[in-house]
Structure formats: C-alpha cells, structure tokens
Symmetry: C2
Subunit: 90 residues, 2 copies
C-alpha cells in the first residue's frame, strides 16, 4: 500500500519536474535568437494567468509540490511573455 502511494507520488513528482523544467530551453532559445514571430501571444498570456491560478489553488491546498512547480513555471512563462512583447514586430 505504501509502495503504491510512493509510486503514484513518484509519477506526480516526475510530471511536475518535466512540465516545470520544459520551459527553460524555450526561454534560452528565445533569449538567444530573439525570434518570437511564431508565438501566439494569446496562448502565452492565458497560460501565464492560468499558472497564477494554479499557484493560488496550490497555496490554498497547502501543496508544496504545486507551489514549487507553479512558481518556477510562472517565472519562466513570464520571461517568455516579456521576450515576446519585447521582440515582436508591430
């Protein structure tokens, strides 16, 4: 029973690690290339607001993994959003 719980929580932690880390290569690539023409501003704006909601939800739920994962994703998605607004052509 304990092994089952560990296994399930392991998948949850792996999920959090993967979706949190995944945005860092995009931040690096966009910062280096300044190429933002392909991005949907709507997508990254709504995603950023959504992550803030997940963070608030995680705080209310007192879930440390949700708070950690969504804080990092909030920062990296905010950085992508800033780069999009900075380098987009009017």
């Amino acid at each position: 029973m304990l092994a089952d719980i560990d296994y399930i929580e392991g998948i949850g932690l792996l999920a959090a690690a993967l979706t949190t880390y995944s945005f860092l290569p995009q931040v690096y690539k966009t910062w280096k290339t300044k190429d933002v023409s392909a991005f949907s501003i709507t997508t990254f704006s709504l995603f950023f607001i959504g992550i803030i909601c997940w963070l608030i939800y995680g705080i209310y739920k007192q879930s440390l993994s949700m708070i950690l994962a969504n804080t990092i994703t909030m920062i990296s998605s905010f950085m992508i959003l800033v780069l999009i607004y900075k380098y987009r052509k009017p």
Copy 2:
C-alpha cells in the same frame, strides 16, 4: 465553509480551463503559418511527456478535472509537436 471550498475549487477549475484552452490559439496559428523556427523541440517534447505523467497521476488520483484538462492539453501539445516536426528545417 462550503462557500470557501467552492471558491477554492472555482480557482482550480479556472486554472484548468485557462491552461487547457491556452494552447488552442498556438495550434491554430502554427497550423496556418507553418512557422515553427522559433520553437524549442526540447521544450514541447518534455512538456508532452510531462502532461502524459500528469494524466496518469490524475487517473490514479481519480480526479476528473485533472483527467479532462490533461487529456485536452495532451492532444493540443501533441498537435504542436507534430507541426514542429513536420515544418522544421533540417
């Protein structure tokens, strides 16, 4: 007390709706423009694998909102990934 729970779950549902819906404008834009040069393949590959892990976690946790949100995000991120592989220049 019930009002508090409703309020918190409302934020969770809003978070799920926003992060799930957010990818659709990107799928549409990429499908129309075929412009994928700015995307990090690493980011979208890791994100896709991470969403599959969140889906498995949601199934184990018997959370309908996690299952619904992550199934839709899995499909939309898979579509973006297919478009990236289809239109990227070697």
